[in-house]
C-alpha cells in the first residue's frame, strides 16, 4: 500500500515538474522574442533620430531664409563654412558605426539568451553567423573614425571585445563555458558601449527640439508682424504652420532616444542576472517584467519618433 502511494506520488511529481518546465520553456521564449524585437525597433528609432538631425539642419537653414530676405542661399557661407544645404552636419560614416554598434549589442543579447535558455542553445544557422561576421570589423571602423570623430575612440575597445566574444560564442560548443565567458567578458563591455552611446545621444538630444522651437518662434514672430496686413485665409495658413511646428516640437521632446539606451541597459542587466541565477520561476518572472518594461518604453518612443519622422518629411515637401 505504502509502495503504491509512493509510486503515485512520484508519478504526480514527475508530471507536475514536466508541466512546470513546459510552461517555463514557453514563458522564456516569449519575452526573449519580444526583447529581440525591441532591440531591433530601438536601433531603427535611433537610426531615424540620427538621420533626421541632418535633415532638420537643412530645413532650419531654408526656413531662416524664408523668414529673412536679406539672407542669401549658398553651398558655402561668407565665412567659408559649408552650409547644411548639401553638406551633412553629422558624418554619415560616424552615424552608421553607431547604428551597427546597437545592432551588435542586439546580436550579443540574442546569443546570451540562447545560452541562458531553458532548452539546449539554439543551433546557429549560417545566416546568423553571417550577420555576426558583418560586425567583426566594426572595431576597426571606429578606430579609423577616431581622427575626425571625437568619441569614436571610446568605442574601439568594448566593441572589439564584444565582436570577438560573439565569434567565440558561435564556435564554442560547451554551453556552460560559453555562458560563463559571455557573462565575465561581455557584460562590462556591453555596459561600456551603452554608456558611450548614452553620452553621445545626451550631447545631441537638445538639438532637434531647439531647432524646431526656433522655427516655431520665427513663425510666431512673422504672424504677429503681419497679422493686421493679411486676410483671414493668409492668417489661417500661417496659424496652421504654427500648429504643425508646435506638434513637431511635442513629438521631438517625446522621442528622446536617451531613454531607449537606459531601457536597453536595464533589460541587459536583467538578462545577465537571469543567466547567473538558478532559473527559478521567480528569476524568470523578474526577467519577464524587466523585458516587458523595456518593450513598452521602446514602443512609446518608436511611435513618437515615427510621428516626428513623418512630420519632418511632410514639412520638407
Amino acid at each position: 500500500m505504502l509502495h503504491r502511494r509512493s509510486l503515485m506520488l512520484t508519478s504526480f511529481l514527475a508530471a507536475s515538474t514536466c508541466a512546470i518546465q513546459g510552461c517555463v520553456k514557453v514563458a522564456f521564449t516569449s519575452p526573449i522574442a519580444s526583447f529581440q524585437q525591441s532591440v531591433d525597433s530601438s536601433a531603427t528609432t535611433l537610426q531615424q533620430y540620427y538621420s533626421s538631425l541632418n535633415r532638420t539642419e537643412r530645413e532650419a537653414y531654408l526656413h531662416e531664409r524664408a523668414q529673412d530676405p536679406r539672407l542669401e542661399v549658398g553651398l558655402t557661407d561668407p565665412q567659408g563654412k559649408r552650409t547644411p544645404l548639401l553638406t551633412k552636419t553629422f558624418s554619415p560614416e560616424s552615424l552608421q558605426a553607431r547604428y551597427d554598434a546597437i545592432r551588435l549589442l542586439g546580436l550579443y543579447a540574442k546569443r546570451l539568451s540562447d545560452l541562458a535558455g531553458i532548452d539546449a542553445p539554439t543551433k546557429i544557422n549560417d545566416a546568423t553567423k553571417l550577420i555576426g561576421a558583418k560586425f567583426a570589423g566594426l572595431g576597426e571602423t571606429f578606430s579609423a573614425l577616431a581622427g575626425t570623430d571625437a568619441t569614436a575612440a571610446k568605442y574601439v575597445g568594448p566593441i572589439g571585445k564584444i565582436a570577438g566574444l560573439l565569434g567565440e560564442m558561435y564556435a564554442e560548443d560547451r554551453r556552460d563555458r560559453a555562458l560563463k565567458d559571455a557573462l565575465e567578458k561581455g557584460a562590462s563591455a556591453v555596459d561600456d558601449v551603452l554608456d558611450q552611446l548614452e553620452q553621445d545621444v545626451a550631447t545631441l538630444a537638445p538639438l532637434e527640439p531647439l531647432t524646431i522651437k526656433t522655427q516655431l518662434l520665427d513663425e510666431i514672430a512673422a504672424y504677429n508682424a503681419s497679422r493686421t496686413k493679411e486676410d483671414a485665409a493668409a492668417r489661417a495658413a500661417r496659424l496652421n504652420s504654427i500648429r504643425a511646428l508646435a506638434e513637431r516640437y511635442d513629438a521631438a521632446l517625446a522621442s528622446n532616444p536617451a531613454e531607449l539606451i537606459q531601457g536597453m541597459r536595464e533589460a541587459h542587466h536583467a538578462l545577465v542576472k537571469f543567466a547567473r541565477s538558478s532559473r527559478a520561476p521567480q528569476d524568470l518572472a523578474d526577467l519577464t517584467a524587466a523585458l516587458e518594461t523595456f518593450s513598452a518604453r521602446a514602443a512609446v518612443i518608436a511611435g513618437a519618433a515615427h510621428e516626428l519622422h513623418e512630420a519632418s518629411k511632410e514639412a520638407g515637401r
Partner: protein
Amino acid sequence: MNERIDSVGLAGLIDRLLDLSGDLRLSPAERAECLAAAKRLRGYLLNLLTARFNQGTPRLLEANAALTSVNADLKAAAQQLQKLAATLESVAKLVGILDDLLRLASSFL
C-alpha cells in the same frame, strides 16, 4: 584634448531666450532681440556640441563661467522683466566669447 562646452547650459539658455521671444509682456523689439540672440546661439551650439578643447583652455573656462552666470541672470530676468535689458547685454558679450572659442575647437562628431 577632452574639455567641452557646457552644452546643457547653452541649450538651457537658448530655450529661455526662445520662451522670452514668445512672451507678449515684452515689447516687439525686445522679443525680436531675444529671438535673434537665440538663433545666433543655436548656431554656436550646433558647432560646439561635439567640439573638444585642451584642458584649461582659458577661453573655454571663461565661456562656461559666463554661461552659468548669464543663465542665472536670465532666469531672474524672466521673473522681473525690467532686468531684461541688462541681461541681454551679457548675452551679447557671451556671443563674442563663443565666437572666439569656435576658432579653437579641434574635432567634431
